[in-house]
Amino acid sequence: MSNSKLSQSISTDGADPKISEQVLDVEKDLLSMESYSTIGNNLVEDAKMSVRNVNVFYGDKQAIFDVHMDIKKNEVIAMIGPSGCGKSTFLRTLNRMNDTIDSCVVSGEVTMDGENLYDPKLDVVELRARVGMVFQKPNPFPKSIFENVAYGPRLHGLADSKVDLDELVENSLKKAGLWEEAKDRLHQPGTGLSGGQQQRLCIARAIAVEPEVILMDEPCSALDPIATARIEELIEELSQNFTIAIVTHSMQQAARVSHRTAYFHLGKLIEVNPTETVFTMPEHKLTEAYITGRFG
């Protein structure tokens, strides 16, 4: 029922002097809707992670409504949407970082390789080692570059000897494209690096524990265009070995780096489609309005 209502509002879209008005109408419909369905191919065959009926509340306020989607193995999936649409909150449900916020309650099911992440018996600490995260603002620890990268391996006992650890650190820095710049200053503080280098250090730190999935929460929003380009290249390379979910404010970035794109609006997952489709022929009115810059 709700689905037909939505598609109706799309099909009535004629040649448009009043498009923004119609968009507002659709938005109003969306707000009043009890339930809705995501448009596009949100579910896939070989899913790494599956999200079913996920709702997230901050106290009384609901931030995420009934999200269904899959994340494919070794794909880069971008989450886009206007500010406050819940895309970051959604990302943080995938490694249970929302647990650190007292008032936050998550319902529904998130599975990785068939294992329910919200199972009370599941060890959150272990989960977070398997699902790494890179944050919006580079947050290297106030330690040396080496110690930053060695932090995770030390915690989880991934290196048995000093030689192993050196090798692991070197490999991680190489994969993050920071080795050449950092190899002569491994024991200087990580906070002395430039913003872009710091972010690559954080990526190196995340991949040092060999996660299966890497979540990136607007990893380039604090960086200049050149540093951004380097990170984007890096994401491309990393996608060969890791599954990556990236939240971004930049539609160009989503178009450049991702295979699929998910569009969130007011806490609802509106549309998931191959990136090309989303940016050339979006199915949903709101997606179209957003990517053409009518609001955001």
């Binding site: 600490v125 272990e126 989960l127 977070r128 080692a129 944050f135 947050n139 620890f141 932090y151 954080c202």
Partner: protein, 462 residues
């Protein structure tokens, strides 16, 4: 008129000045078509008038009061026959005091020589004159200034920047009072110490191993060796501070970690003020808690396990001092731990670290400079603490590093040296100033060191 009544009266004049100038400016504004036509708001004209009246008159009064005694004294002494005026200063002062007592009616005037009586009468007359002249002069001055302030009110006179400047000067003056007081204290301690070091060599004081400040006041007195080696006192101070720190640092730090990292808002809202109540307990209460409760318990416990614990042990005083310092450390540590950015914690948690691993490996190292700074400030607090040790640690200047012995501290000795009947030029009394100076230097260095560390910490994330 009494000076206090006079000042009160001047404040009444000031209120009058405020309203008269304010009203005048309002009436000027009314003629011109609104307050916006004035250069300043009406209240600024009022404030200007008040400041113009009060500041010079009050300065004048305080200057007069500080000088009139001196002038009156001169005038009185002038009339006293030369042969009665003693040449040495202390006898001279004695004579002045006596005359003042007679004129104040403290000494009955029937038993005194007539020249003293004359001088006393003259002094009385002069003070009455002085009192009357200051009353008349200041009220006259105030009225002129009120009138002047009133006349100056016009639409072109901008009172606002003038008031601003005067305000700034007044704030500056207040800041200076604090600074000059500090400097004054330093110098008064310094000069007395120099006098002390004339009697006792500096080397003996700093490196001497025996403290026994009883000096002979009379030639025939016995048991007054008078040795001023400060080492036992400083060792005692350090010992007690150490005991206090051993107790306060771990407990304070851990409670801070709990409050900043683990406690939810409702626990925090309850626990933090409760902990801070500890800081509000007067140290004298801690003192008798230490002396009456803790020390006997420790001694009895020592007896039961075969240890010989003095009833005024460093352990008892140090333990209670440690408890007193807990809120000090926990509050500073809580602040610096809370100041560690959340992104650091998120980064660590997202790597799969547990909460306590995050605290141990990221939060505490990041907050460490601030915590160390806090601990150093707490140490200088412990070193300067007096009341607890006076009551619980005793007076025996034993050179011992065993916390079960009775020791004494620098502050305790200062208190005992300066209480009771004293002679202000004996080495015994002056020793207190030397001790005070050394204590001041030590805590000053600790504070500077601590502030440096705290400052360095502030710059860390930027």
């Amino acid at each position: 008129m009494q000076t206090s009544t006079l000042v009160l009266f001047l404040f009444v004049i000031a209120v009058f000045a405020f309203y008269s100038s304010q009203n005048r400016s309002i009436s000027i504004a009314g003629k011109l078509g609104g307050i916006r036509k004035l250069s300043s708001l009406p209240s600024y004209y009022g404030t200007y008038s008040v400041l113009l009246t009060l500041v010079p008159v009050l300065l004048f009064i305080s200057l007069w009061i500080s000088l009139d005694q001196l002038v009156i004294e001169r005038l009185v002494v002038e009339k006293i026959p030369k042969e009665y005026v003693p040449l040495n200063t202390s006898d001279y002062q004695l004579m002045i005091n006596k005359i003042m007592s007679i004129s104040g009616g403290i000494i009955k005037n029937d038993s005194v020589p007539s020249w003293q009586l004359d001088a006393a009468v003259r002094m009385r007359q002069l003070s009455v004159i002085s009192q009357w002249s200051i009353t008349c002069l200041s009220i006259f001055m105030a009225s002129i200034l009120v009138y002047w302030g009133f006349r100056r009110v016009s639409e072109n006179f901008n009172a606002r920047p003038v008031v601003e400047t005067i305000m700034e000067r007044m704030l500056l003056a207040s800041a200076c009072i604090a600074i000059f007081t500090t400097i004054g204290i330093i110098f008064s301690v310094l000069f007395e110490s120099i006098q002390f070091f004339r009697k006792v060599p500096l080397f003996d004081f700093i490196f001497g191993l025996e403290w026994s400040p009883q000096t002979a006041i009379r030639e025939d007195q016995v048991g007054s060796s008078g040795s001023f080696g400060a080492v036992p006192l400083f060792v005692g101070t350090i010992l007690i501070s150490l005991v206090a720190m051993v107790i306060a640092v771990p407990i304070g730090l851990m409670s801070a970690i709990y409050l900043a990292e683990y406690a939810n808002t409702s626990v925090r809202a309850f626990a933090k003020p409760t902990l801070e109540i500890l800081a509000g307990i007067p140290t004298v209460v801690y003192g008798f808690f230490a002396a009456i409760t803790v020390a006997p318990v420790l001694r009895d416990f020592g007896e039961s396990v075969g240890l010989d614990i003095a009833s005024e042990s460093a352990l008892a005083a140090g333990a209670v001092m440690g408890i007193m310092i807990i809120p000090f450390i926990s509050s500073i540590a809580d602040d610096v731990i809370s100041a560690v950015p959340q992104s650091m914690r998120d980064g660590s948690l997202a790597m799969g670290a547990t909460h306590s691993e995050t605290v141990k490996r990221v939060v505490i190292p990041a907050a460490l400079p601030g915590i160390v700074g806090g601990i150093l400030l707490a140490i200088s607090r412990a070193i300067g603490e007096t009341m607890i040790v006076v009551m619980a640690a005793g007076l025996a200047a034993n050179l011992s590093i065993n916390p079960l012995d009775a020791v004494t501290t620098v502050t305790v000795q200062i208190v005992t040296l300066l209480t009771g009947d004293q002679e202000f030029d004996s080495a015994k009394t002056l020793a207190a100033f030397a001790l005070g100076l050394m204590l001041f230097v030590v805590t000053l260095m600790l504070n500077i060191f601590a502030l440096q560390i705290v400052k360095k910490y502030r710059e860390q994330y930027e």
